[in-house]
Symmetry: C2
Subunit: 228 residues, 2 copies
């Protein structure tokens, strides 16, 4: 931590003015264990619950699919929703989620300075895609005809948001973290967010394949009934 005149903080660029910043009381290890431990609990509980209640039993890919959208739903609504609601004060706050965002801020200080795009994108993610994820889970559990449509809408939102997230930071010259830092740049910024590029892309392809097959069969049926 370098002293910037009257106020000190660990964020990049080093000349950021964050007068209300207070250092975390929890250690980095405590925060990482809290967040990844919570993710693990959500995944294990969803995995166990998704193995019950159907005959034949759900396949492993079907259960992983439900786990992904359940985890996303919790992350979008609780973690990103908290950011959307408290972005302006969290640098000076000690709530567990504020401390989590202050730790993540080492990988992207836009979360500490209420960056316009970041706040808007995260709020949309929390408000629309969070509930959307749970709707995907519900739609697949009850095999609703709109299940792949919601999957496609939610995944497209995630992919678009995350693409813009990386693109805007690239456009800024990666100034909001310590460039190429193994933990902050590569793990927090690139790796953690990379999941929301790769997996939504796969989810869009899967939904498109299923919807396209259904549409092809529907079109063939329409042609047949017209020919009769």
């Amino acid at each position: 931590m370098v002293d910037n005149g009257s106020v000190s903080h660990p964020y990049y660029p080093r000349n950021l003015d964050i007068p209300h910043y207070v250092a975390n009381t929890k250690t980095q290890a405590q925060l990482l264990v809290s967040v990844f431990g919570s993710f693990a609990v959500i995944l294990v509980v969803t995995w166990l619950l998704s193995g019950r209640g159907t005959k034949p039993k759900r396949s492993v890919p079907q259960r992983i699919h439900l786990c992904w959208f359940t985890l996303c739903g919790f992350i979008h609504i609780i973690i990103e929703g908290y950011f959307g609601a408290y972005h302006s004060v969290l640098a000076g706050d000690q709530h567990l989620l504020s401390q989590l965002w202050k730790e993540y801020g080492n990988g992207d200080s836009r979360y500490i300075i209420s960056d316009n795009f970041t706040v808007c994108m995260e709020t949309i993610t929390a408000v629309l895609e969070g509930p959307g994820c749970f709707l995907v889970v519900y739609a697949f559990l009850y095999k609703k005809p709109y299940r792949y449509i919601v999957q496609m809408l939610v995944s497209t939102g995630q992919l678009y948001g995350c693409t813009l997230y990386f693109y805007t930071e690239y456009f800024d010259g990666f100034i909001h973290n310590e460039k190429w830092h193994p933990l902050y740049f590569w793990f927090y910024f690139v790796c953690l967010n990379g999941f929301w590029i790769i997996i939504p892309f796969c989810m869009i392809v899967q939904a498109a394949n299923n919807l396209s097959a259904a549409q092809a069969k529907y079109d063939a049926g329409m042609r047949k009934s017209k020919a009769q």
Copy 2:
């Protein structure tokens, strides 16, 4: 136009520093006639072409649908693509499209100052959604089974991009134009962009209804074949 020390420009906020700005040589009327005239030509040509080549003839809604995506394709690739490529120099340039953007900048000066989010969103729109619009047209002309899927992907991209476009400016307090100006704020900024909220939303609903109907029939067929 107010003098800001050594340089003058018409944009808001008034203290923006745009040293390379040069005033348009074409009048506002010339620019508006050029752009809306081009839109009219594209719409009329698409309308006429879409009335040919099928028996029974395409319905009016089907032809309007093709007109919308054709117009969007041209706007995304030519007008927004030009902005993505030349955003950094257009304030000092006199190409017709630069002059057009300088005129539109009265409604949103983020286009004049290479605003980070605006450049990234417009580039994504030009590169992905532009060709995507023509793919929608192709897919509907040849009744491809993926036609509603591409429609949904492109329209979701448009809706997400335009929602963020309004939201980020709201978050900034509408500082990038002369607030409540009838032409610049209401027509350029609100009305013109409003089309890309309302119409993509309708296109998503239409695609979802069609895909959902196809999926419901497909699911019913699968249940039937399993029961036999």
